[in-house]
Symmetry: D2
Subunit: 316 residues, 4 copies
Amino acid sequence: MADILDEYCERFRNWGKWGLEDEIGTLNYITPEKVIGAARLVKQGKIFSLALPFDANGPQTGRFSRVNPIHQMLATGTDHATGRQSFQGRPFPRGFGYADDTVTMPLQCGTQWDGLSHIFHNGKMWNGADASLVSSDGAARNGIEKMRDKVVTRGVLLDIARAKGVESLEPGYAITTSDLDVAAERERVGIEPGDIVLVRTGFMGYCLAHGWGTYAGGDAPGLSFHTAPWLYEKRIAGIASDTWGVEVRPNELPDSFQPLHLVMVVNMGLLVGEIFALDELAEDCARDGVYEFLFVAPPLPVTGAVGSPINPLAIK
Amino acid sequence: MADILDEYCERFRNWGKWGLEDEIGTLNYITPEKVIGAARLVKQGKIFSLALPFDANGPQTGRFSRVNPIHQMLATGTDHATGRQSFQGRPFPRGFGYADDTVTMPLQCGTQWDGLSHIFHNGKMWNGADASLVSSDGAARNGIEKMRDKVVTRGVLLDIARAKGVESLEPGYAITTSDLDVAAERERVGIEPGDIVLVRTGFMGYCLAHGWGTYAGGDAPGLSFHTAPWLYEKRIAGIASDTWGVEVRPNELPDSFQPLHLVMVVNMGLLVGEIFALDELAEDCARDGVYEFLFVAPPLPVTGAVGSPINPLAIK
Amino acid sequence: MADILDEYCERFRNWGKWGLEDEIGTLNYITPEKVIGAARLVKQGKIFSLALPFDANGPQTGRFSRVNPIHQMLATGTDHATGRQSFQGRPFPRGFGYADDTVTMPLQCGTQWDGLSHIFHNGKMWNGADASLVSSDGAARNGIEKMRDKVVTRGVLLDIARAKGVESLEPGYAITTSDLDVAAERERVGIEPGDIVLVRTGFMGYCLAHGWGTYAGGDAPGLSFHTAPWLYEKRIAGIASDTWGVEVRPNELPDSFQPLHLVMVVNMGLLVGEIFALDELAEDCARDGVYEFLFVAPPLPVTGAVGSPINPLAIK
Amino acid sequence: MADILDEYCERFRNWGKWGLEDEIGTLNYITPEKVIGAARLVKQGKIFSLALPFDANGPQTGRFSRVNPIHQMLATGTDHATGRQSFQGRPFPRGFGYADDTVTMPLQCGTQWDGLSHIFHNGKMWNGADASLVSSDGAARNGIEKMRDKVVTRGVLLDIARAKGVESLEPGYAITTSDLDVAAERERVGIEPGDIVLVRTGFMGYCLAHGWGTYAGGDAPGLSFHTAPWLYEKRIAGIASDTWGVEVRPNELPDSFQPLHLVMVVNMGLLVGEIFALDELAEDCARDGVYEFLFVAPPLPVTGAVGSPINPLAIK
């Protein structure tokens, strides 16, 4: 017997809406006019980075095989300073020296986009493509690189924690449609088609102050499963939050795992962002009362990747 | 006896100009007004990604220990499709499945910013900091993360190849100050303080068509050492090109290695971008005659990194 | 219609021979008595390492996603020498310093064992286990770690190149059963159950002198497909060679890829070693006339791995 | 004023003993006769692997930038089973399939040898070589690859925990010279030049049962600093234990960090092994009363590495 999960998956399914070959989903809501309008929101020349630093102090614990970024040097200033740096067997001429480095990281270990190839449901992914198209060779469909030139639009911050007057929502708190609407009203901001909506729970700030604890995959505040109609009807291009998984945990539906993802990513084709650092931006929005901005957050076009680390910018 | 390298290093040295603690160099030329003005350049809603795909087909050969990005899966759709995906020892409920992945890459193996800790000269780096501050623990000064919220400005494309009517400049061709000025004039575009200038040689396109060859570190067209005064006097915030190293190779000064880097990065504090994919943008600029745009290219804030892979966007 | 590939797969199938749960195949031929006898071969106290150096100069080209080992430092002597090494925010006491390092490598990029989970045939692997038991989580069956305490036995070098009086067999040359027998006879050595046989083609030495060329996956000398009966009937525990893939390339059977592997690994359960450095040992064997030795080559027990880098030792 | 650390460093310094160019230290004590004698200890044909599994369940916590091994697949059986595996754009012929994998790991994250380039003292390493010879390019002197064909000798297990009748020595317990001698006497085994001595504290077994806790770098039982004379005078080739750092922690000398390493590694040139899994071997030794065996533990010859993961074998 079908339940609300099945019902929502079917009701909010956008497969075929932008053609059978589409691989970018709701990013199609971002039109040239939308981009132009978003750029007009830049009135003060302020720039906010919404990325958590990518380093060993991140939230990952190894769960789901996700570790924090591993940054390593290939060449250093200490090599240069001790005269140990060479080129083709000889010291570099004229006092030249350099440093170089590498990173090894899960693409979704920090501030990130979920690609549309990140989530499967019963053997399918976005637009009905077969899940097995994502093999060890990467995503032959719906790879993150398809979004390389798409993520420029109007961003709106919905600061739920501030609207409720708390430092952070409690783990397990399910943000409702009403919560979203109340925050928007309080901020005097509307949600328009093509927007990317940033939902602040305050939970990252709490964890930065008190320790990550179970941030990565444990209990957390987040969107209720029942916000699916809101996400669909607003025709937004993306949603992001300051938590590991955007939706509330523990999950609300019995015997389910990230059920809203099944609706959002697999069926709706919605761009989902996680582990966004929203506190500095939120402070500023509270100060100047402006909760809308130009939002630019291009993924790194790693071919066939199912997600990407990002440094999203809000520009006011 | 001092020669032109020493002379230029000293003459174009910005150390202390923005304070002794400064770690972002010429990005200081980007003012709030500059950001506002840049956003106003968005008139058509067109977005161009200037990143080369990050994958195994990149230009690196292992030289300088730089390899191409290594993308690997942590979880796949083929696992899901064969029922081999589990969570805490049991299958995921409700047909849920997911893919996840990692990347291992030199931070400067593809489209990238050089950080101000990337280059040293006689034991010093930008703003006079000691080179040995860049150790195996990363850059304690001038790390790329300091630029996390800085790289939003007006971008200008100087299409030198097109100005000269060639598919690509020849390897070894040294772009002169006059070449830059002629191109700007031809494009009816001025260079202003705080701009980031994109110099197209056509060499990447040539290599994409004919094989990378010695693209990574071998002979290439690029800026003449003698453009240093131009770079300095224009008070630009950054310079980028479609080659491995921006400056011409073989290098012009006898017994030198990337001498312009010593002037630009170490002394001027200029942001330098390399391996930019400029052809699609250039096509469009030739078509609509608009060579200026909003340019947004935030680095990934990898703590203590000396460079960063990027997906730069030009927005018209 | 069944051909010789199907026939050999069936005829030389050891599935169930050592129980349905067996995960080590022909290593079962190594009995305690065999180990004792092998140790008695140590009469001169000479030790030979059969590993190619693990570094960036290895044979891999990126084909099949295999790159050469990437060795990187976590801490260096240059850091120590410049006073940049610290512990919990303070310099190490008493002049202490250290270096530390990492490796990133395909497990089969250099001298290596193929695990019994490395090769599949029509959905099955060794002992009839389902291929899908090898997922992104690794090999749930037939992982290399099952062999952690098994690879100690009598080793025999069959120096085919020397027997034929050539520096190296030609790429494409298929070593016959007769070649193996003639070499053994010439060396006055018998092949006994439980032995691990090292077959020298000379091709690695040729490549070390003249460049790797297509060593990794291209044309190479190696075992003929028709040696399968010999490998089976001798009841050897393992076979290894100084080439990328042990068997001759191009492969002999039309429209096939490494067909002998299907017989050896999937059906016979034979341990296969590749990229062995045999030249120094071969020199010594030619000198003293002793072609048998204690052979010790334990895999690194990486849990769920389908192969392992090794440093095999021949001890005479 | 010189104290016991300075005194021991000087008193037990073997620099120059095997020539100024020596890079293997006390492994020089292993003579051909020693190897022959060691092989004669193989009387039962039993093989013991002394390696902890290399996987995500290891003891590392990120401290000192050491993480546990990261094992990832390049190709899987699930790809094969779903028909997603191809070669040069076509499916493999004849039902062929394969799995392949990689590892990323600190070389000393699990069962391992410290190379003689791993530890520095006042700018020097083994045999008086300059510490700065270990740069980002690896160890130009005393690299682990120099030991590739050296580590075959008599092994002796000194089971201190069993001698004291405890499951595990307590963290902070400093094993004395007397403890070593008493255990040897109880086991009726002598320590001879060229031996590699395995000291069992029981602490790994305790941690495997109760959680790693601070195993990696925290308090642990281990050798007293005052065993240095014993280690020197016995002329052993190596020492290994079932702890993170062999020597007792907290360290005994005030304001010191791993002071015994300064004596052992830098001055004595002693091979030091850590994180050895000794419990299964110890059980067997207790059963049959035989505490000596052929010990074979070749490092992986990673060029310029300062340590190596190993799978040491004890063969009785």
